[in-house]
Amino acid sequence: MNMMSEAAVEKALDKKMTDMSYKMIGNDVSVYYGEKRALFDVNLNVRENTVTALIGPSGCGKSTFLRTLNRMNDTIEGCRVTGKITLDNDDIYDKEIDVVELRARVGMVFQKPNPFPKSIYENIAYGPRIHGLARNKADMDQIVEASLQRAGLWTEVKDRLHEGGTGLSGGQQQRLCIARAVAVSPEVILMDEPCSALDPIATAKVEELIHELRANYTIVIVTHSMQQAARVSQRTAMFHLGQLVEENDTDKMFTNPDDQRTQDYIMGRFG
């Protein structure tokens, strides 16, 4: 991608951003693990076709918040969520909302690459298959190829689609997991420190991928690395001790934050 077109893309996206269309809105979101409260009345909105980075020191609740967005917290025993989170104006914690459908719309990529112990093809095909997205084999082949293309993995694996997904390198595995998430055609992709288990080169590839995915998806990414947040996101939210400290344009956040704590964290005074 050359400089020109990249600038064009940025411009188009920025224009879109000014529309201020919120994909997901979190209102007074609190999370409890048993008796312990992990998140305190967080109000955070996620804009459409934007990469939102969640930063903050360990244990600040950023991953917890991320997991409330597609209700992965449901799988943890004793976890309780209060407040309201909407996806396109639907309350995702409403009784009417189906968690399976929600997760089909809000996909997730995990901290550690977790490919299924199946072939690369089957890893990608799994989501479309359970949701019945492909009518026939040709359809499925197409979805698999498209997803791998999007994840920038196609050229690397197209000759060994039927070999085990666990045989890939760490970076490839994580891109496979992203391709797997993309294959379901979600509207939002949540990424929980997707590069923490990867080396710098693999990290660069994944970051590049996030950048490209932004055109079609709304992305929320949790990261430990400030540089990464600066590189990939347009909006950044800073968490501390279970509270949302500040949410701002990434550029502003890293140059002139509103909150002293953000300043301290970015300067490396704690965390």
Partner: protein, 438 residues
């Protein structure tokens, strides 16, 4: 910064949702879950059925119908020529059942001339009155000529009938208790002579072909000896073997082989241990068959792998930091293990041992092969004497045809299960009490 902005999505038409078959998939989800619940309920249902079947059949075994009547120890019958001073055999061989029969007949008002009725009366009392009365007389010859009130065991069929286990509605020819005997039974009961009492005999008596006199006394002693042998041998050997394998053994082919070997031994069918015991201990070493010593040795070999596996797990659970701390203070490896690691692993080891013992207590098959299926009426005094074991006694009684034996068998099973419950609860308490999380 968190200003509330109304989403334009509310204004725009919602995009058409993809059909991802939610309804159908949730039906499958519910079905799958129902299978799980059904399977679990099936297992638990049969646990309940099994226990219910044993308890409902067996709780009556702890009661025994007795006929309490004044018994005249007639000198006429016991020793009419007054030879007991010169011939000690006289008191042993006297016709005691006649005394008992006469006593019951008198209580019922049956004429001494009516031989048919007398025979029917005789059938109502257990044959074991012979030894019961004989022991009374031998212990105290003074009672000859006197009348004593004695509780006599009712015969097995009368016992079953009185407990309502024999269907008295079928025609008289097809059951073992006649109408006349039923009438007598009621007559005695009304007079307060026939009643159910606590049956201590089932705990203390030895083998008997008469269900009313049979008990698990010998089997309990035999099982006790065997458990003692298993405990004394398998605990130290098992712990020693585990310590070596877990703490000292180098990782090489040989220890790998031992490892596979132990896991395999834990899964070898128990009957194979019986064959081993028969061939090695009985045939080759010449130890006596039916002895609880052989049974104990066989069960030891069978229990060892279980104990070793449990002990190794307990040793493994002790964190390496403890070992490092002791070694760092200059303790030798052996001291570290015996002073620190072993005491910390002890609760786990003991829990494993108790569970292994409980398993050995209920084991039957190998004991059948080494001849513990024996009719043993006397208590074994040493582990070398012929004996039987609790589960083997259950097996032998299960093969008896009489109705009263079904009740006894269930009663013996209840005793066995009680022992197992006590052991397992003990193991659980031990684990709860000393459980340590690192």
């Amino acid at each position: 910064m968190t200003d509330v902005v109304s989403s334009p999505a509310g204004v725009l038409a919602k995009p058409a949702r993809r059909d991802i078959g939610i309804k159908r998939r949730y039906a499958a989800e519910r079905r799958f879950r129902a299978y799980g619940i059904a399977a679990l309920s099936f297992g638990l249902l049969f646990l309940a059925l099994l226990l219910w079947s044993v308890v409902s059949k067996g709780y009556t075994a702890f009661q025994q119908t007795m006929i309490t009547v004044p018994v005249e120890f007639s000198e006429q019958v016991i020793d009419k020529d007054n030879e007991r001073a010169t011939d000690p055999q006289k008191l042993m061989t006297a016709n005691y059942p006649i005394i008992a029969r006469n006593a019951v007949a008198k209580a019922l008002g049956v004429a001494e001339s009516n031989t048919a009725d007398l025979r029917a009366v005789n059938q109502m009392i257990s044959n074991s009155v012979r030894s019961q009365l004989r022991d009374m007389v031998v212990a105290n010859p003074q009672i000859i000529g006197t009348t004593q009130t004695v509780s006599l065991l009712a015969a097995g069929d009368i016992d079953s009938a009185w407990k309502g286990q024999i269907n008295l509605d079928v025609s008289e020819d097809n059951r073992k208790v006649s109408d006349k005997q039923v009438g007598w039974m009621n007559q005695l009961a009304e007079a307060g002579a026939l009643a159910k009492h606590f049956n201590g005999g089932i705990f203390f008596n030895g083998a008997s072909s008469r269900p009313e006199a049979a008990g698990v006394g010998v089997a309990l002693i035999g099982s006790f000896y065997m458990m003692l042998i298993v405990l004394v041998l398998s605990l130290p050997i098992g712990v020693a073997a585990s310590i070596y394998l877990e703490e000292f053994a180098p990782k090489n082919r040989l220890t790998d082989l031992i490892e596979v070997n132990i896991n395999n031994l834990a899964a070898v069918p128990s009957i194979v241990y019986g064959l081993l015991g028969l061939a090695v201990f009985v045939n080759f070493m010449g130890l006596p068959r039916s002895a609880s010593l052989v049974g104990g040795l066989v069960l030891t070999l069978m229990t060892l792998p279980t104990i070793i596996i449990a002990t190794r797990a307990a040793l493994k659970a002790v964190p390496p930091s403890i070992r490092a701390a002791a070694l760092g203070l200059g303790a030798s490896k052996m001291q570290t293990i015996f002073h620190h690691v072993l005491p910390l692993a002890m609760p786990g080891i003991l829990t494993g041992t108790i569970i292994g013992l409980a398993h050995a207590l209920g084991e039957t098959a190998p004991l059948l092969l080494i001849g513990m299926v024996a009719f043993v009426a006397n208590y074994p005094t040493t582990p070398m004497d012929p004996s039987t074991a609790l589960p083997v006694q259950i097996y032998m009684w299960a093969n008896e045809a009489e109705r009263a034996f079904v009740e006894r068998t269930s009663g013996a099973i209840i005793i066995l299960l009680l022992f197992l419950i006590v052991m397992n609860v003990g193991a659980i308490l031990l684990r709860r009490r000393f459980e340590r999380r690192w």
